[in-house]
Each structure stands twice: as structure tokens, then as C-alpha cells.
Symmetry: C2
């Protein structure tokens, strides 16, 4: 819906400019667009990897809420999920995060290349 003419090179079989597809980039930013998720990311990275519960009693959010936030981060590819028995492991995907950063840098550069 509403993808309209935003991505003219979308329908074609072209695998064009990886890393600067507006939809993909926007989706990643969306995952970062909530303070709770940013804090969760920090927390995850501080303690190399966490289970859900660990996050839950750090921030006072309901377990279901935290689970959802984690899911969003996972689906955005920013966090890797490893279902280890009960203690499912959530860990920051540092390269993915660096990737987003690179995308943003690219955007900033494309906005400043002339000067």
C-alpha cells in the first residue's frame, strides 16, 4: 500500500542499490524510533546477550510488551535471536547496526556531497 511511485525500480527484477532502498532503510529507522527499543538495544549490547526476562525487570514494562519490542528489533534485523531452551538469547547484531549507521551516513553524504 502506498508504495506508489516512491520506488520506481521496485517491480523490475533489479537488485539495484542495496543499502539505500528507502523502504528498507525506513523500516530500520522505524525499529529505532522508539525510546524503549533504543534503551533495550543499549542494554542488550552492555550485557552481550540477554533473555527476555532480564530485559523485563530492568525496564518496568510488561513482559508481553518487551517481547513485542524484541520481536520488532529482530524482524528489523537489528537483533539476533537464538532460541536457547527457556533462556532465549537476544543479542545485538552489531554488523546490522553498523549497516544502518552506514545507510544514514550515505544519506547524509548524499545530502552534503556538494559542499
Amino acid at each position: 500500500m502506498t508504495q506508489s511511485t516512491l520506488e520506481p525500480d521496485r517491480a523490475a527484477g533489479a537488485p539495484p542499490n542495496r543499502g539505500s532502498d528507502s523502504h528498507a532503510v525506513a523500516a530500520r529507522f522505524a525499529a529505532l524510533s522508539h525510546p524503549a527499543r533504543i534503551e533495550i538495544l543499549k542494554h542488550l549490547s552492555a550485557s552481550n546477550s540477554c533473555c527476555c526476562r532480564e530485559v523485563v525487570d530492568r525496564f518496568d514494562l510488561a513482559q508481553s510488551t518487551v517481547s513485542q519490542h524484541l520481536k520488532i528489533l529482530v524482524e528489523a534485523g537489528l537483533v539476533r535471536f537464538e532460541p536457547d531452551r527457556q533462556r532465549s538469547r537476544y543479542a545485538v547484531d552489531r554488523s546490522a547496526l553498523a549497516d544502518v549507521s552506514a545507510s544514514l551516513n550515505a544519506l547524509v553524504n548524499s545530502c552534503c556531497y556538494g559542499r
Copy 2:
């Protein structure tokens, strides 16, 4: 609402990590979390500054929709607005954009400092 314990160092008189307040950062990412707004940003920067109309007939969105997107970008501080008669001028605030990029870099670094 729901700011709860997300910012543990909020209530104290501490002026702690300016520039990495999760709320502020998240708000900027929110502005970037829509493909149309990313494309608009690119367009704005390509043609140094634009009026609303110019953006409107580049992307096929209603004028009101574009106006809203621009407003969101302005309110996020990513775009500067100069009401020049009819042809209101919208221009990317490059330093603000660089700032967001820096915030994200900081986040990435804080996620990778150990390795």
C-alpha cells in the same frame, strides 16, 4: 506517558548524556522512518531548496500529504523552513542531519566498544 523508568537519570538534576537522550533520538529516527520522507529529504538536498509544490509533483502524493510530511521533517528539526511568500522554501538542515548520524554512530559505538 510510559516514560516510566526508561530514563533512570531523568528525575535527578543531572544533565547527563546530552545528545543521546533516547526520546530525542527516537523522535529523529521517527521522522526518518517513512520512505516518503527519506525520498523527500533526498530530493530537497538534490535541489538545494524546494517549495512544496515542487515536491508534490515529483512524488504522486496529495499536496496535503506532502505538506504534512514536510511539517514532520521541520518539527524534527531536519528541514528548515523559510516562508518566502508563496514559494515557501524547504531546505535540508545538513548539520542537524549530521547530528542524527552522529547519534547513531554513538549508539553503534556504545554497542561495540568492547570489541
